[in-house]
Amino acid sequence: MSEEVVLLDFWPSPFGMRMRIALAEKGIKYESKEEDLRNKSDLLLQMNPIHQKIPVLIHNGKPVCESLIQVQYIDEVWHHKSPLLPSDPYQRAIARFWADFADKKMSDLGRKIWATKGEEQANAKKEFIESLKLLEGELGDKPYFGGENLGYVDVVFVPFYSWFYAYEMCGDFSIDAECPKLMAWAKRCLEKESVSESLPDQEKVYGFVLQMKKAFGIE
């Protein structure tokens, strides 16, 4: 059966990276279309009229929006290969909980670290490290959050690693010093082709963040 899969994406987006990793893990062939977010394509506006955001997954012409929903969707459709969510309902609930936690904390706090200064930035850094430590606790001694293999939480969380260098530079702190286990986990993920091919170079992301700061008039 021929499946047509298109991903509307933007290279520095951690949300887009999740889909790149998930599609690669499942061995799904797809067409990637890079969006210029200052000049959104008609296709993007048509496929995601409410949020007008990437990534958008278009499967046989039908759009699926929101990266967490997209990852769950492809895990259900292509369930026979590399399952991302466990089969036990309680383990699934735990995975969804931590994926939501990582998603909300990293998005919100990460942005505050690069886009703010002074007390707001200091508070964000503190909460950021606290959140990472909670995630480290959840990882425990497992090689991945998913156990022996990459799972849902790994796919949702690891893209933010490509932004860590930018956060460190903007926030003048070391994530490695505070959370060495998590950094070891991230490097382990990067040994997988699905992850290394999906995450941009950290320096490149930092360059992008500097551009954004300039564009928004943030020092």
């Binding site: 409410i50 929903i69 997209q70 309902p89 699934r92 609930a93 939501d100 936690f101």
Partner: protein, 233 residues
């Protein structure tokens, strides 16, 4: 399964706390409901079962706590799989249901709350317009999801019905406080009928808070947010 094996920690005014209870009712699962008066303080049980967020609802199944209302609903659906299905079986329909549930939680309900705390008439009108825009989108979504059937989930209450229906209490309170209809025959006829069906459903009736009682509670909350001295009865 013994009643005490399934506990829900909730709070009667919380729309989120309604969700697991509706789901358990759909599955005909007996459970013990524990009222947490979170505005007065948090119990040891709550802090132990949800140490990360310290929020209700929490479902405690045996020794296992499950947190986050929509996460709990999915867990209930997967665990008691012999009962009526809550999530659609088709992955695409499931993705659509999850999309709208996320929209409701992240965009729409916050816009309801902003009506209550809007300062000045212009801000209030703008907040109302936002809510109405969202309802127009949901009216359209209802047409697509229900395909002529009574609920978003089809013949029976499903995931999106639960996600949206749990906000009806506060929607009605907002209508009351602002002397207007947000759901109306003129603009959202399908949703008006859906709302009546949802609220009278056996799985929902006993869990939906009384609008008057909720309005009184709402006044207290708004006063607190505004920093004005609140009369707490």
């Amino acid at each position: 399964m013994a009643k005490s094996d399934v506990k829900v920690l909730g709070s009667w005014p919380s729309p989120y706390a309604m969700r697991p209870r509706i789901a358990l009712n759909i599955k005909s699962v007996d459970y013990e409901y524990v009222e947490e008066r979170v505005w007065e303080g948090k119990t040891e049980l709550l802090l132990q079962s949800n140490p990360v967020h310290k929020k209700i609802p929490v479902l405690i199944h045996g020794d296992n706590p499950i947190c986050e209302s929509l996460n709990i609903v999915q867990y209930i659906d997967e665990t008691w799989s012999s009962g009526p299905s809550i999530l659609p079986s088709d992955p695409y329909e499931g993705a659509i249901a999850r999309f709208w549930a996320a929209y409701l939680d992240e965009k729409w309900f916050p816009s309801i709350k902003s009506i209550a705390i809007a300062q000045g008439e212009d801000a209030r009108k703008a907040a109302i317009a936002q809510v109405e825009e969202g309802l127009a989108l949901l009216e359209e979504a209802f047409g697509k999801c229900s395909k002529g059937k009574p609920f978003f989930g089809g013949d029976q209450i499903g995931f999106l019905d639960i996600a949206f229906g749990s906000f009806l209490g506060w929607l009605r309170v907002t209508e009351k406080f602002n002397g207007m209809k947000l759901l109306s025959e003129a603009k959202t006829p399908a949703l008006v009928n859906w709302a009546d069906r949802f609220c009278s459903d056996a799985a929902v009736k006993d869990v939906m808070p009384d609008t008057e009682k909720l309005a009184e509670f709402g006044k207290m909350v708004i006063a607190k947010i505004r920093g004005a001295g609140a009369e707490i009865h």
